[in-house]
Each structure stands twice: as structure tokens, then as C-alpha cells.
């Protein structure tokens, strides 16, 4: 921390606020590490998670999917890579789980190069492991990554097959049974984007939803950094919004509650977001404490300066 105006003060007679002001920042890093590591160990050992009270934006995501009739086509765009998986993978897992449980037909796309791999991993973890009856090509299909950012979105407005001429297996779009009636993006009543930045949710609103706001709904899950930019679009242009890990935990708890079976525990892989709320709580308390201490130092120095 900064040395301020007290460089010449004797260490033994320094006031409390000066001593705090001179703390090596690495102690703060260590405190933050302990604040995160402690709850992870505790939750990892006990298996307990914090209760979640879903907010309006998270409830809207759940209800948008819940209200869709079975076999409805849903377009799911994986607009992130493993660097953001810590925040976004829990919501991706729960979104795919709810769609699979509702028997919706899922079409996966990726506008980020590594989005294809995370989509593939999610398909493996959720669909292949827990919904093996769903058949690729009939119930779900991964169209893979397509380069071009907004250009792909613009192309989707007019011709889906031109934007994604084949799926990730190399099968031509025209040969995929579940896509035989899909001409353009508006043929999907619901679009879901799991987004870590550009291109992502904002661009989907600007290039697709603004054109087809009446025909299709849009829900999204995003990182904490991009959430404040997306809240203004809710609820007119974005029907439901999962902001960061908190939104993911709220949504995850709703999906788990809706699919709960008496006497059967929720599989641990569907509790990722709720597990990560423990470290969030303690780390945020530490942040608040540090901000309060910082302000106390500021006002104490100001007072001393005035005296």
C-alpha cells in the first residue's frame, strides 16, 4: 500500500491507520486466498451449499424454457471458452439439462473457436451421460464453430444452412432430420446465448433480436464483467438474464428443484454454481471489510491532517 505522507514517522509511535496503510499488499492476497480456499474445503468436505432465492431475471430464464412445448427447437450458442468456464460452465450445464429434461430439440452453435469444445463437453456430461435416449440429429445437434462474428449472425437472419453448412461431425445441414424445417434463425422460438464477451449476448440483441423481437425470445447467461451492460436490455430485448455465478446458482437451484426426485440426491455435477457461492460470500465479506477499513484510514488521515 502507499506510504502516504508519513514516511518520516517513527515506526513505534505510528498511529493505527498509518500502520494499516503500510501493510504489504501480499497479506491482502493471502487473506483473499484463504477466504476462497476455506469455504471450498468446507463445502468440499461437508457437501453443504447455501440456499438460493431466485431473482426476477433468473426466474424469467427458467420460465421461458419451462413454458416451451416438448420438441420445440432451441438454438444454444456457446460464446465462451475454457478461460470463462469457471463462471459460465455451471449455467451451461443447467441450461442444457433443463432443455433435455423438457425434451426440447437443441441446436448447438459456437461463435468462439473453443466454444465448440465446451459445447461438446457439455453434451457429453449432460446429454450422453444422463439423457442417453436423445439421438444426435433428431434431438440435438452440434453445428460447431463458425468464424465471422456478426457476419454469421447476419447470415443466420436469412439462411441458416449457409451460416452453418454442416455439423461438427461433417454431416451436411440439409441431411440433418431435425433441421429440415429450419430456414432462418427466426424458426427457433428461443435463442440461448452463454456469453463471455464479444461476440456474444450484446451482438445477438443488436443483430438478431432487434430484427425478430416479435418472433423469437432470447435468454442469456453472461460473465460478471458483461452483466451490467446487458441489464438495460432486460426484459424487453432479453427475456431472461443470468448474471455471473450468482445468476447461475439461482437458476441451478430452480432447475434442481424442478427435477428433484424424492429420495434421490441431486448429482454433484449439477451443484457446481451453488458450491461456488460459499467462496463468493466469504470473499465478498472480506472485500466489504477492506473497503470499510480503507475508508476509515482515509477519514482518519483527513482528520489528522485537519488537526
Amino acid at each position: 500500500m502507499s506510504s502516504g505522507n508519513f514516511n518520516n514517522t517513527n515506526a513505534s509511535v505510528r498511529p493505527w491507520f498509518e500502520r494499516l496503510d503500510r501493510i504489504d499488499r501480499r497479506w491482502i492476497f493471502l487473506l483473499m486466498f484463504l477466504a476462497v480456499a476455506g469455504p471450498i474445503l468446507w463445502i468440499g468436505v461437508t457437501g453443504k451449499t447455501l440456499p438460493e432465492a431466485p431473482t426476477l431475471a433468473a426466474r424469467a430464464v427458467f420460465e421461458e424454457i419451462d413454458h416451451l412445448p416438448a420438441r420445440t427447437l432451441v438454438l444454444i450458442s456457446f460464446d465462451y471458452d475454457p478461460a470463462s468456464a469457471g463462471e459460465l460452465q455451471p449455467m451451461a450445464t443447467s441450461l442444457v439439462r433443463q432443455c433435455a429434461a423438457k425434451n426440447l430439440r437443441m441446436v448447438f452453435i459456437a461463435l468462439w473457436p473453443l466454444g465448440n469444445q465446451v459445447a461438446q463437453q457439455t453434451i457429453q456430461d449432460v446429454i450422453r451421460d444422463d439423457y442417453p435416449a436423445l439421438k444426435e440429429g433428431d434431438d440435438f445437434v452440434n453445428m460447431g464453430y463458425q468464424a465471422g462474428n456478426e457476419a454469421v449472425m447476419k447470415l443466420l437472419l436469412t439462411d441458416f444452412a449457409k451460416a452453418f453448412p454442416k455439423d461438427s461431425r461433417g454431416e451436411a445441414t440439409s441431411n440433418i432430420p431435425m433441421l429440415k424445417d429450419v430456414k432462418m434463425v427466426s424458426d427457433f422460438p428461443l435463442l440461448i446465448s452463454i456469453s463471455a464477451g464479444y461476440p456474444g449476448s450484446k451482438e445477438w440483441v443488436q443483430y438478431v433480436i432487434s430484427a425478430y423481437n416479435e418472433k423469437m425470445n432470447f435468454v442469456t447467461g453472461c460473465t460478471g464483467v458483461s452483466a451490467p451492460q446487458l441489464y438495460p436490455y432486460f426484459p424487453q430485448q432479453i427475456a431472461g438474464l443470468l448474471g455471473a455465478i450468482k445468476g447461475a446458482a439461482e437458476y441451478e437451484s430452480m432447475v434442481n428443484a424442478s427435477l428433484a426426485v424424492d429420495g434421490v440426491a441431486t448429482p454433484p455435477k449439477y451443484l457446481q454454481a451453488q458450491r461456488r457461492m460459499g467462496p463468493q460470500l466469504v470473499a465478498h465479506l472480506l472485500m466489504v471489510g477492506l473497503i470499510i477499513v480503507g475508508n476509515m484510514i482515509f477519514f482518519a488521515r483527513k482528520r489528522r491532517g485537519a488537526a
Binding site: 501480499r26 492476497f29 483473499m32 486466498f33 476462497v36 480456499a37 471450498i40 474445503l41 463445502i43 468440499g44 468436505v45 457437501g47 470463462s84 468456464a85 469457471g86 463462471e87 473457436p113 464453430y145 463458425q146 468464424a147 465471422g148 456478426e150 447476419k154 453448412p165 454442416k166 461433417g170 454431416e171 451436411a172 445441414t173 440483441v205 443488436q206 443483430y207 433480436i209 432487434s210 430484427a211 423481437n213 460473465t223 460478471g224 464483467v225 452483466a227 451490467p228 438495460p232 436490455y233 424487453q236 430485448q237 448474471g243 455471473a244 455465478i245 450468482k246 454433484p268 455435477k269 451443484l271 458450491r275 461456488r276 467462496p279 463468493q280 470473499a283 465478498h284 472485500m287
Partner: protein, 361 residues
Amino acid sequence: MTRQSKTWLVLGAVFVALLVARGMIGQGLGRVYVKRTDVTVKLPEAAVNNAAGAPSALASGSTNASTTTAATQAMETPAAASTASSSATTISWQEWKQVTPLEFNAAQKANPAQTEITLSWPRTIGLWLAAFFTLAIFSFLYADNPFYKIAESLVVGVSAAYWGVIGFWDTLVPKMFGALTPGLVKSLVQPSLVAPEKLQQISMIFALILGVMMLWRLLPRGGWISAWPLAFIVGVTAGLKIVSHVESDLMAQAAATMKPLFVSVTDASGATNMWDSWWASVANVLLVAGVICCLAYFFFSVEHKGVVGGAARVGIWYLMITFGASFGFTVMGRIALLAARVEFLFDDWLWLIDPNHFRGL
């Protein structure tokens, strides 16, 4: 030896001692197990015919067409072994799928001589490398050091190479070469390429010309030629962005701000819910007032005095609250990422916790 070097030495020694101790307690440390699966796929007749009729580049030498197809497919399959074998119409290979230590222990208990589920050295080394690089990046919080430099350089190098490969195989090959010479690309590198329409092929000639013009800046003379494709890019991007921004950010957002200041919320029986009506009205008043006050703050044609000055000051408060909310979200995001890495270290690497019940701790 400097004080910092001594600190590093002590920290390193403590860490290695803890690691060794952890390795000797309980089930030990991070290991990855894999299960072998034999996969046999019957080729459709068309695929066999296509492979047999493939250009000589593919079917040259003593390797027959179906063997080549098998080898190609084996390479494309994740974790496929190199033991692909083939017959005329079927191909087979071995896949190694990651399994949990719990499954390995169960298999060992059932049959100690089993070889179906084994320790995967490459994946275990990968796991330890991931843990090492995570710690190397974290070490920067203490001070800049060679481990951090190695990890940082590796990230930069791998990212640059990865983007280069992605740019070549996902953009240049399918979109440019695939449009200009679809037959060649289809037969040589991407058999699943969907040939573009004639118009798209012609348009790619212009794209190629623009690309060459862009690269002209690398030549000693005529660098100005690259200004033309740049102008094209700026023009197209501006055109696309202006329309979308006006539609989604100006018009739609302005419409969303035009809200009634008094809202009457009725419940299922048709009666007015005073509490909900009060809060809905307050929310709308705050929204409209916030927009007006923030606009007043950024309106510099009038001096910020009197009513305008008061509104501008309120606008500053709104902006500060917005920045605070953004900061809070950013903190939440960063902590989530840190939690994910710490979880990886404790769970996958150190086996201290078992939230997914992979080891039956």
C-alpha cells in the same frame, strides 16, 4: 543470498514437504485413469467407393484407400490409439475414455490383473503441468519470477499459434480456398466441405483481391494500396453497426424508458395491490429520473447551475452507483474464476476434496 531469495527457498521447501506428505497420506495425489474401448464402425458403401476413388495423393503407395480412411478417422477421434486396423468395409480402433479413480479401484478389486482401466501417464503429466502453471501464474502475486515468466510466455505462444491454426483451417481453407477451388479442398483436406454457390465463389475473388491489397503494405512501395481494403472494412462495419445500434440501443432503449410514473398492479381477483403498485411506481420514477439526470450531466451546452446543476449532481450519483455495481460484478466474476482454479488444485490435483464423488472419499 537476498531476503527475497531466502523467502522463496523456505516457501518452496515447505511446499515440497507438504506435497510429499500429502502423497503419502490416504489415496495420494492427482492421477488420471482411462478405460479402453474397442470401436468398430461399418462404413457406408458410398464412403468406401469415395475412398477407393480418392486422388492418388490419398491412396498412394502400399496403403489401400480404406486403411487411409481408418487412419485418418483414428487421428480425428479424441484419444484414439494408433492401432487402427481395417477391412474392406469396416474400420476399428481403440478409444481411451477418462474414468474416475472410483471406477479404477472397483475394477482392481474385482480383478487385480485387469488391464481395461489403467493409469494414463500422458494425462497425469498434463494434470500436473496444469497445476504447475496455475501455481506459476499465482506466484506473480508474491513477486515477478522466472516461473511466472515461463507460464506467461507459454500462454502467449500457444494462443498465438492456436489463433493462427484456427484462422487457417476455419477461415482461409473453407471460406477462401474452399470457395475458389472447392474440388481440390474437398478431395485433399476437407472431404465434408459443402461447395458454395456460384455467386459466393465469384464474390470470393473480390475478397482475395482485397486481401492481397491489404498485404501490400508489407512491400517497400505502394503501401497506400492497403488503404482501400481498410476503407472497405471501415465502411461495411460502420454501416452494420450504425443500423444495429440505432435499432437496438437507441430506439428500443428510448421506448423502454417511456414508462408510466404511476403503476397500478392488480392481483388475480382484480383488486389493486397497493404495496406492489407503490414499488412498481417508485421503480419507474427512479428509472425515468435517472435517465433525465444522467443526460443532464452529459449535456454541456447549458451551464450546470440551478435546476440543470442539481439534476447533473443527481446524475453523478446514478453514475457512481452504476460504477459500483459494475465493480461488484467484476469482483464476483474474478472470485468465481479464482474459486474454479482453487477447486481444481484441491480436487483434481491434491485430492483433498471430492465434491463430485469421483474417489469415494
